[in-house]
């Protein structure tokens, strides 16, 4: 059950860095011929976005554990192009979970991808000395 109204973040204007896309492809077994489907994971880890998650987790004294991830595309991302990324973040309490829904649009407003990230929020106290 949602604990509070979803939090809207963005849009963030972000660019597919060709060198980083090639490096990401290399580290995930790809040949770098196209932008990897999972490349937007890099954007979700951007400090301007992930700091919201980090701050929330600090406030709740929990650790986010990546539970599931999805990427759905209308059109592939193009290396060197810029896009607008908008995120809606919502939290549930049964079980404790944070869901991030992100949409990626071209600068002309055409939606090209939808991303869903689900993170289980694990109490830090349950993680032993790792906390």
């Amino acid at each position: 059950m949602p604990l509070e109204p979803p939090l809207a973040l963005g849009p963030f204007r972000l660019r597919v860095d060709p060198a980083r896309a090639a490096a990401f492809a290399r580290e995930t077994g790809g040949d770098g011929a196209s932008v990897p489907l999972a490349y937007p994971a890099i954007w979700l880890a951007e400090p301007s976005l992930f700091s919201v998650v980090r701050d929330l987790c600090a406030e709740l004294d929990v650790v986010p554990v990546h539970e599931s991830q999805s990427f759905s595309y209308n059109a592939p991302l193009v290396a060197g192009e810029s896009y607008d990324l908008s995120v809606t973040m919502s939290r549930e309490d049964a079980p404790p979970r944070l869901t991030m829904l992100a949409t990626i649009s071209t600068l002309g407003g055409e939606p090209c991808a939808r991303i869903e990230t689900m993170m289980r929020l694990v109490p830090r106290a349950g993680l032993g000395s790792a906390s």
């Binding site: 995930t28 595309y73 869903e116």
Partner: protein
């Protein structure tokens, strides 16, 4: 083309890894996911893992080249996965897939990633479409 694909078809298994510490450090650097759980043996041990788990996203992303190698005439329109249990640094990873639905317009594939454990590390799915239909 996609008409030649039928329910039950299997995608040739792909074996990746084992991934060592420098490999996980490189992925952390390029992805921005610097969670110490994946990089620091002491943090992993404190949670009860004998070695740091490989980033789930690194493994999920590895299905893409497998699917591209399987059918170059299809484009992948979606890729998703549930991270069921950690696959640890040093484990060989087996990626596999099986067609669950097949029409002229869309192929739906169940994906599995196994590390050393009997249970899968990732249960995933992908949707592919004929290149001309996108």
């Amino acid at each position: 083309m996609s008409g030649a694909i039928k329910v039950g078809d299997t995608i040739p298994e792909t074996v990746i890894g084992p991934f060592d510490a420098p490999s996980l450090a490189r992925y952390a650097e390029v992805s921005g996911d610097a969670n110490p759980l994946h990089l620091d043996d002491a943090v992993a041990a404190a949670i009860g893992f004998p070695a740091p788990p490989v980033h789930g996203m690194k493994l999920l992303a590895a299905f893409e080249p497998m699917l591209r190698a399987w059918r170059a005439d299809l484009v992948i329109s979606s890729l998703a996965g549930k991270f069921v249990q950690p696959i640890l640094r040093g484990e060989t990873v087996k990626l596999s897939g099986r067609v669950l639905r097949a029409t002229e317009d869309e192929i739906f594939v169940r994906l599995m990633a196994y590390g050393a454990a009997r249970a899968p590390g990732i249960i995933g799915e992908a949707t592919l479409r004929p290149r001309t239909a996108t």
